[in-house]
Subunit: 457 residues, 2 copies
Amino acid sequence: MTEQPSRLEVEDLQQNLRRVREGIAAQRDPAALRAELDRLHPADVASILEALPLEERLVAWHLVNAEREGEILLELSEAVRESLIATMDAKELVAAAETLEADQIADLAPDLPEEVVQDVIRALPQEERTLLRAALSYDEGTVGALMDFDQVTVREDVTLEAATRYLRALDELPPHTDQLFVVDRGGKLRGTLPLARLIVTDLERKVGEVMVPESVKLRPEDRAEDAAQAFERYDLVSAPVVDLITGNLVGRVTVNDVMDYIREKSAETQLAEAGLSKEEDVFAPVLDSFRNRWAWLAINLVTAFIASRVIGAFEGSIAKLVALAALMPIVAGIGGNSGNQTITMIVRALALGQIQSSYWTKLIAKELGLATLNGVLWGGLLGIAAYLLYDNVALGGVMALAMLLTLLLAAGMGVVIPYLRARFGRDPAVGSSVLITACTDSGGFFIFLGLATLFLL
Amino acid sequence: MTEQPSRLEVEDLQQNLRRVREGIAAQRDPAALRAELDRLHPADVASILEALPLEERLVAWHLVNAEREGEILLELSEAVRESLIATMDAKELVAAAETLEADQIADLAPDLPEEVVQDVIRALPQEERTLLRAALSYDEGTVGALMDFDQVTVREDVTLEAATRYLRALDELPPHTDQLFVVDRGGKLRGTLPLARLIVTDLERKVGEVMVPESVKLRPEDRAEDAAQAFERYDLVSAPVVDLITGNLVGRVTVNDVMDYIREKSAETQLAEAGLSKEEDVFAPVLDSFRNRWAWLAINLVTAFIASRVIGAFEGSIAKLVALAALMPIVAGIGGNSGNQTITMIVRALALGQIQSSYWTKLIAKELGLATLNGVLWGGLLGIAAYLLYDNVALGGVMALAMLLTLLLAAGMGVVIPYLRARFGRDPAVGSSVLITACTDSGGFFIFLGLATLFLL
């Protein structure tokens, strides 16, 4: 389990991967490539597969030792994993899944055909089957979904000497075993015994005297995000997962799973911001990419269409003063940018639990203050520019005032949208950028063209 | 060093923090609050400080035990840390820094006044001073900046028995000690000895026989991002940092520092996407927030102004057919969205090393194919909508064709911009969204209005 990559320095590792990848692209001697892939860490094989176009990827996949397919599938991004699973038949998939542990099979299960999952469950020994059923029952985004079952347990009434003998009999400890979990006869968690403490303590003492009785405990239903924050704050390597009612130890979470979770979450956020539904295989067929991207384009089409109809309502004004057409995108654009700044900061602060309910008015006052400053500054600048371009003082004035009002709208909505969504139990992050941009686009056009119609025509 | 939070379940922890925070806001009995803050983990105190407006934050800060100020400052976000450092005099700052270890002082140093750093250096014992100088010499974003000096070393020719006796003499092992580093007389790294292996192995054997001779090694000059990838791929808890030339062990990197680095990086990316220069204190004074946000607004003002001038060049056409003014933002907007999808995916794939130089033509072909599909679909739809709205077939045709061409432009630039930046050694991620939006805005207006001028007027 504690495999090491075949090379040592990070830079060498990267060069090595490049070499193997190029070998596959150049269709070098398959036997040599197979041997080379066999020597690589599963995560390295996964990174090679992700960097190959579909056809070469399948060639490489066929070179992989069948016994390692399961662990490599686990390391792949979802999109690339799907592209490989689509080429495997049920028998191969069952064989691959059977090389994995229950919690790993559960991670893979959403991407497997239902009958494969059923076959795997049937083929497992009773104990593993129970664990897999448990692992499958937890929702994504919960501690239950991050948990594994590799915890090593000891009793409090044994000596450290006896505990050490027991560990020796295990031959090898599961990865990320930085502490043993102390349980009573019924399986209830009593405390933890860090290996570092076990090593430095007199072996004649009892586990119960040496253990840490109180440590961070997770429950399967806790949000994975909260667990991640606990790992970060308290610098944990592993943490026990305990049943809420019985207090029994049901599993553990380790820092590597937390780190994967953090990376995945951050990738998802970044991709969602840009309108990609999920991580995309760079080499995906056009239709797959289309499926990943169309929804966002459609939503934007609708909001752009609404904004266009707002402009349409003022076509008479534009016909009379065509300069309005050239100036209006500036107002809407800067409004959108500044609204996005506000909403991004608020959404982040909400996620970090930094905003107490009593401070919302303080926040909105601050953002409106900043918008006023920005409005006077940039609005003034653009007002002067508009005046100089079109030699029309009133147009300059309307431009400046429209900028100020649009920035105030953007700041207000930038606070109010996440506030309302948090209030009504929605995730304030989802689609926040679309919402604010829709407001500032239509709002900006309406304010600018409306003011122009009032004062200029 | 291995402090535990005072409460156990994650949910309890959060409730507890809420309670203390509210106590401070309500100005409850200072002595009780002081005691409560003293019991909290430094990271928890930091999170409370981050969630308080400036005035209340300073009240809480004065309740913090002076000896803990250093470790709490370390846990704070940069913006909030600065807000507190600004209120402390040189003597307090030196006292706070002196409670920290060399690598921690180095992390804090960029936010401290130069004379404070000098005072701290002078006050340190010789050995610590050398370590601090070393730590200060590494650039942000390198392994050197992530590294600490808490590695525990052993010699290969001693028995495990002797090694264990040595560890017992240390009383407590540094946090995240999952392995000992085996060095020779000159300090050269020979291998590592995982604690889990030490525990399960016969104590009469020699370290040299039991150690793992080859494991991932980092160098101080390696990119922190590469180290983070190694930690993720190989599920490391700690890794040795070795001098390139001498092969000597100079320090170690632990998973908690890597996790902090990942979180910080991901926050930075997310904030940069929205045009915030850095993490912002939600309760920052208006002027501080202005400083954090003005640069992006100014850049967008320039690009919006250029786009406005493109429109200005076609004012004659708009005057003749005012519908153009209402339709043009749709073309530019959808172009921008789709360009952002492409560039985000490519930039991510580049960062993950998924794009080999031989595949760029494949990628551009795929993106242009997808743009054609999108162009025909959404362009057709909008063409029909334009025809129905304005009862003008030619206008519908121009709309559809302009959408198609703008999406092709967006796809092309979405691949070419990161390609060129990677080629010339720039970070392809920085400002990619601004660049592509500038292209698609001005380009979209030009294409649509140009086609309209050619075919409609």
